[in-house]
C-alpha cells in the first residue's frame, strides 16, 4: 500500500528527521508504502495500546507511579517507543552491534506514526468515536510528554513552533497576589523567577476546570511548570480538527471496498467485549442447541450449526469459529467434547479417531492444551476480516462472504419480508455487514430500534436471549475488559494471500488526509 504518490521524493528525508524526535504532533501523514498485513497489525496493536490507556485511566490516577509503570510495560510489550532517550543510545551502539531483540527505536517510532494515522481513518466517523480516540491519544501524549527531559520539552516546543506569550515583569508584579493564590505550587518568590504565559482560557481547560490558574478577562495566566496543559490542549485541538477533516473525506474511504470494512471493524472494536469469561457455564443443555440456533444464533453460527448437523463434519476454520462461539454461550469443556464427538461420529469419523484427531483441538480451545491460551470467541471483525472461507468451508459471515443472490434466497427462506430483504441487501451493498446483521436481528425479533451496536456474534446471542426472556440465566458480567485475541489467534495462510492481493488494489492512503 502506498501512503502517497506526490511527495515521495521528499519522503525519506522528512521521515528520518521526524523519527529523530522522541515525540511528534502527527502533523504529517506517513509518506511511504506499507503492506496491508503491516497495516492491519499496526492498527490492531495501536488499538490495543489505546484500550490499555483507557483501562489504566479508569483504574489508576493518571500520571501516578503505577499508571506510568503499567503504561510503560504495555508500550514495551506492543513494541511502541517508550523511552524518549532510546534513539541516541541506539545510534551510539548501533555501530557496534545491531539491536538484539525486536525492532529498533526508529522502527517503533515509524510504527507509532503510521498506526496513529490508520486509526484516525477508523475513528473519525462519528462523534463518539472521535471523542474516544482523542481522549486516549491525549492521555498517551501526556504520558510521553511528561517523560521528556526539560531540554527535550523545550526542543519539542521549538520544533513544533509552539510559542506562548510570556507576560512582562511589570504585569507579573501587578498580578502577583492573584498568581500566588491561584496555584498550589507557586510561592511569592517563585512568581518572580518563573515565566507566566497568557493564553485564552479555552487553551487551558484542564487548569480552568480545577481552578488551578488565574483567570482575568478571558485569559489564563499559566506558570511555566504547567505548560504541558497548553501543549496538550493544542494537541487535542489539532487532532480534533484533523479528524473532522478526515471525516469529510470519508466518502473516498467508503468507496474503497477493501479498506472500508477493515476500518469499520477497527472502530467497532473499541466497545467490544471478549465474551470469554463465562458465568453461565453449563447453563445450556445440548438438547437446547437446535432450537436456540433457529431463534438466537446469528446467521453465521446458524449456518455452521446446520452444516455440522448435515455433514457431521466441519473443517478447521468452522470448528474454531463455531466452537469458540459455543464456549462463549456457556458450553463446558465436557459438553463441548460430547457435542462434537456425537456429531462427528455420526459421519465418517469413529470415536477412536475423534479422540485422537479432534479432541485435542477442542481442549485447546478451552486452554487445556498447548500454550494454554484461553481463546476468546471471534468478534464480527475477526470473522469478517480474517481467514475468508474457501471451498468446503462454512465459516465466515454470510453478509460478507455469501453470494448476494444466495443470501437473498436464504433471507426469504427465513421469512424476512420483501422490504426487509431489500433493506438488508442495501446495507450489504454498502459494505455495512454488521448493520445488515443488526437489521436482520431487528426484523426477526420484532424490535424497531436495537439499543446495542452489534460487534460480536455472542453479543447477538445474548441480546436475543434478553429479548426472548431467556436472558435471566444466561447473563454475563458486562464490564469485563476486552482481552483482544485478534492477533494471537492462529491464522490460515489464505488470509495472508488475501492481504497480498489487497495491497495491489488499494488507493493511496494519504489522499484521505486533507492538508490543513
Amino acid at each position: 500500500m502506498q501512503f502517497t504518490g506526490r511527495r515521495n521524493k521528499f519522503g525519506t528525508n522528512l521521515q528520518t528527521e521526524l523519527y529523530l524526535q522522541p515525540l511528534q504532533f502527527y502533523g504529517q501523514p506517513p509518506l511511504e508504502n506499507i503492506s496491508l498485513s503491516e497495516f492491519e497489525t499496526f492498527a490492531v496493536e495501536r488499538l490495543k495500546l489505546l484500550k490499555t490507556v483507557e483501562n489504566l485511566g479508569v483504574s489508576y490516577v493518571k500520571q501516578s507511579e503505577q499508571y506510568k509503570q503499567k503504561l510503560e510495560k504495555e508500550l514495551k510489550n506492543l513494541n511502541f517507543s517508550y523511552r524518549p532517550d532510546a534513539v541516541d543510545k541506539d545510534n551510539k551502539e548501533s555501530s557496534k552491534k545491531p539491536p538484539q531483540n525486536g525492532p529498533s527505536e526508529l522502527e517503533k517510532r515509524r510504527k507509532d506514526h503510521i498506526s496513529h494515522f490508520i486509526l484516525r481513518l477508523a475513528y473519525c466517523q462519528t462523534e463518539d468515536l472521535r471523542r474516544w480516540f482523542i481522549q486516549q491519544e491525549v492521555d498517551l501524549f501526556r504520558y510521553r510528554f511528561n517523560e521528556l527531559q526539560p531540554i527535550q520539552k523545550l526542543e519539542f516546543l521549538h520544533k513544533n513552533n509552539l510559542q506562548y506569550d510570556a507576560i512582562s515583569v511589570e504585569e507579573k508584579k501587578n498580578l502577583k497576589d492573584n498568581l500566588v493564590s491561584s496555584s498550589y505550587a507557586v510561592s511569592g518568590i517563585k512568581v518572580e523567577l518563573e515565566e507566566f504565559y497568557k493564553v485564552p482560557f479555552q487553551d487551558a481547560l484542564d487548569l480552568v476546570r480545577t481552578r488551578k490558574v488565574y483567570l482575568k478577562d478571558g485569559f489564563a495566566y499559566i506558570p511555566h511548570q504547567d505548560i504541558v496543559t497548553i501543549v496538550l490542549n493544542d494537541f487535542r485541538t489539532r487532532l480534533s480538527k484533523a479528524l473532522a477533516l478526515t471525516a469529510r473525506s470519508l466518502p473516498a474511504v467508503h468507496s474503497d471496498e477493501r479498506l472500508q470494512p477493515l476500518l469499520n471493524h477497527l472502530s467497532h472494536a473499541y466497545v467490544g467485549q471478549d465474551y470469554s469469561i463465562q458465568k453461565n457455564v453449563g447453563k445450556i443443555s445440548l438438547e437446547q442447541i437446535d432450537s436456540l440456533s433457529g431463534k438466537s444464533f446469528p446467521l453465521c453460527m446458524r449456518k455452521l450449526h446446520q452444516a455440522l448437523r448435515e455433514n457431521h463434519h466441519l473443517r478447521h476454520g468452522g470448528r474454531m469459529q463455531y466452537g469458540l462461539f459455543l464456549k462463549g454461550i456457556g458450553l463446558s469443556l465436557e459438553q463441548a467434547l460430547q457435542f462434537w464427538r456425537m456429531e462427528f461420529t455420526r459421519g465418517k469419523v469413529d470415536a477412536d479417531k475423534f479422540d485422537k484427531a479432534y479432541a485435542y483441538s477442542i481442549r485447546h480451545m478451552f486452554g487445556k492444551e498447548g500454550k494454554r491460551t484461553d481463546y476468546t470467541p471471534y468478534s464480527c471483525m475477526k470473522v469478517i476480516l480474517s481467514n475468508p472461507p474457501s471451498q468446503g468451508d462454512y465459516h465466515g459471515c454470510p453478509f460478507r462472504h455469501s453470494e448476494p443472490e444466495l443470501l437473498k434466497q436464504k433471507l426469504q427462506f427465513y421469512k424476512v419480508s420483501p422490504s426487509g430483504v431489500s433493506q438488508i441487501m442495501e446495507l450489504v451493498k454498502g459494505m455495512h455487514y454488521q448493520l445488515a446483521c443488526q437489521k436482520y436481528f431487528e426484523l426477526t425479533h420484532n424490535v424497531e430500534d436495537t439499543s446495542f451496536s452489534l460487534s460480536h456474534p455472542n453479543q447477538y446471542f445474548l441480546e436475543s436471549q434478553k429479548l426472548l426472556g431467556g436472558g435471566k440465566d444466561i447473563k454475563r458480567e458486562a464490564d469485563t475488559p476486552q482481552r483482544s485475541q485478534e492477533n494471537s489467534a492462529p491464522r490460515g495462510s489464505s488470509a495472508a494471500d488475501a492481504s497480498e492481493h489487497l495491497a495491489e488494489t488499494t488507493e493511496d492512503l494519504d489522499a484521505f488526509f486533507v492538508d490543513v
Partner: protein, 427 residues
C-alpha cells in the same frame, strides 16, 4: 394586579392572543439572527415546542421571522425551548446523512433552580418560592455575572426569569457561542463550589490558597449573608437549623460554640462567635480552617445544573415563553434593578391579555424608529400595530430592556467589523 387571577385552564384561550399580538417576534428574530453575520444562523437553529397534553416536538426550524411567526401562531406552543445552531436545517435532520447533522454553536447557558437549594431553605421547599428565598437567586446572579464578565471576559449576558422558581443566563458573546462542549463543562466546573448530594453534610471544602474567584464570590455572599441568612432564614435561631450549621465546624469548636450559644440567643452575636472561633483557628492551626466561609458558601453560593451548561445541543426554555403552571412570562431581568426584582410582580399572560383589552389610557406615541437596516420590508403596518400592542401592557419594560441588550450586541458587532477592516488596512 394579583397574579392569582391566572387560571391554567384558560391558557389555550390566551396563547393565540399572546402569539398574535404580544410576543416580541421582531426582537426575538433580531436576537437569534445575530446581525446575519453568519450564514443560516437563524435558519439552522433548533426550536422545540411543547404543545397541549405535553406533546413534545423537537427539531423545528424556520427560514424567516415571518415563518416563525406563522408557525407559532398556528401551533400555539405551551412552552418554547431553544436549542443549538446545527450544520443543517433541523427540520430536515432526517434527510441528512447520519453523523453529519451536528450541533455547532449555542449560547453558553446556565440554569439555576430553587429546588436545588431545598437543604438550605427553611421557608419553602420544592417548586415553591417566596420573597425570602428569592435572595438566593439574587446572589446567584451577582456571583455568576461578575465571574463571567471579569474572569471569562464575556460582555453580553442575558439574565432571564424562568417563569417559576429560577433564573437562566444566556451568554451571547460570539466567543461563548463557539465554545466546545469541553470548554462549557470547564467553565461550569470552575463556577461550581457546592458539591455532594443528600449523603454529604459538608458540601463546600476550601483549601489554601483560596483562589481569587472564590474570594470575589465570598465578597458577594458576605454582603447578603447577615440580612438573608441570619434574619430572614433564622439560620442561627431555630434549634434544628443551629445543629445543622454546627455540624459543619470541627468537633472541638462545635462543643465550645454549643456552650456559648446557651447564653447567647441573638443570631448576629452567634455568628460573630463562629467567626471568632474561625479566626482563632486560622491563627493557630496550620492550614485549611475556613469553616465560617464554608458555611456561608454552603448556604448561599449558586447551585448550577451543570448538565444544562455542558452540552452544545442542550435545550433551554426560551425567553418570552410562558410558564404553563404560573402563567408568568419568562422575562429578561435588568441587573441595574436586580435587588428590586420581584418574581411575583412579573406579568402573567392573563394580565397582559387583559391589559390589551383595556381602553388606551394616556398612551404615548413615542414610537422609537427601528434600526432601518435590520428591518424587512413586508411587515410594516401590522408590525407597528403589534409594537403598540405590547407597549400598552406590563410587558413593555421587559421588552425595552431586551431591546437595550440587543443594541449593545449590535454595537459590539459593529465595533468588531470596524476593528477587522482597520486591521486589513494596516496590511
Amino acid at each position: 394586579m394579583p397574579s392569582s387571577d391566572y387560571d391554567p385552564a384558560c391558557l389555550p384561550d390566551l396563547l393565540p392572543l399572546y402569539y398574535r399580538r404580544l410576543f416580541p417576534f421582531s426582537q426575538y428574530h433580531r436576537w437569534l439572527n445575530y446581525g446575519g453575520v453568519q450564514k443560516n444562523y437563524f435558519q439552522n437553529r433548533e426550536f422545540s415546542f411543547t404543545l397541549k397534553d405535553d406533546i413534545y416536538v423537537r427539531y423545528q426550524s424556520f427560514n424567516t421571522q415571518n415563518e416563525l411567526e406563522k408557525e407559532m401562531q398556528r401551533m400555539n406552543p405551551y412552552k418554547i425551548d431553544i436549542g443549538a445552531v446545527y450544520s443543517h436545517r433541523p427540520n430536515q435532520h432526517n434527510t441528512v446523512k447520519s453523523g453529519s447533522f451536528q450541533a455547532l454553536e449555542k449560547e453558553l447557558v446556565f440554569d439555576i433552580d430553587m429546588t436545588d437549594y431545598d437543604d438550605v431553605r427553611s421557608c419553602c421547599s420544592a417548586a415553591d418560592i417566596c420573597a425570602r428565598c428569592w435572595t438566593l437567586m439574587t446572589i446567584a446572579v451577582r456571583v455568576l455575572d461578575r465571574a463571567l464578565r471579569e474572569d471569562f471576559g464575556f460582555r453580553h449576558l442575558l439574565w432571564v426569569y424562568s417563569g417559576r422558581r429560577g433564573v437562566h443566563c444566556w451568554v451571547c458573546d460570539e466567543a461563548a457561542r463557539k465554545l466546545s462542549a469541553a470548554a462549557r463543562s470547564a467553565v461550569a466546573e470552575y463556577l461550581s463550589l457546592v458539591k455532594g448530594g443528600e449523603e454529604t453534610v459538608k458540601k463546600v471544602v476550601l483549601s489554601d490558597p483560596i483562589h481569587p474567584f472564590i474570594k470575589e464570590s465570598l465578597a458577594v455572599v458576605e454582603h447578603y449573608f447577615p440580612q438573608y441568612a441570619l434574619q430572614q432564614q433564622d439560620l442561627l435561631s431555630r434549634k434544628d437549623s443551629v445543629d445543622k450549621v454546627l455540624a459543619l465546624v470541627p468537633e472541638d469548636v462545635k462543643k465550645e460554640l454549643q456552650m456559648r450559644f446557651q447564653n447567647e440567643k441573638r443570631p448576629e452575636i452567634r455568628w460573630k462567635l463562629i467567626e471568632d472561633q474561625a479566626h482563632k483557628k486560622q491563627s493557630t492551626a496550620k492550614k485549611g480552617q475556613h469553616f465560617e466561609k464554608e458555611i456561608m458558601l454552603q448556604y448561599c453560593y449558586p447551585r448550577l445544573d451543570v448538565n444544562v451548561s455542558k452540552g452544545v445541543n442542550h435545550l433551554l426554555k426560551s425567553p418570552f415563553s410562558v410558564h404553563p403552571k404560573t402563567g408568568r412570562v419568562s422575562v429578561p431581568i435588568d441587573l441595574r434593578e436586580l435587588d428590586k426584582f420581584d418574581p411575583f410582580a412579573v406579568p402573567t399572560i392573563s394580565l397582559i391579555c387583559e391589559e390589551l383589552d383595556r381602553p388606551k389610557a394616556g398612551e404615548e406615541e413615542e414610537e422609537k424608529p427601528e434600526d432601518a437596516t435590520e428591518r424587512e420590508d413586508e411587515r410594516d403596518a401590522a408590525e407597528k400595530r403589534k409594537i403598540r400592542a405590547y407597549k400598552r401592557t406590563s410587558l413593555a419594560k421587559y421588552v425595552k430592556h431586551f431591546d437595550q441588550f440587543l443594541d449593545a450586541l449590535a454595537r459590539s458587532r459593529k465595533g468588531e467589523l470596524l476593528r477587522q477592516s482597520d486591521l486589513q488596512k494596516e496590511f
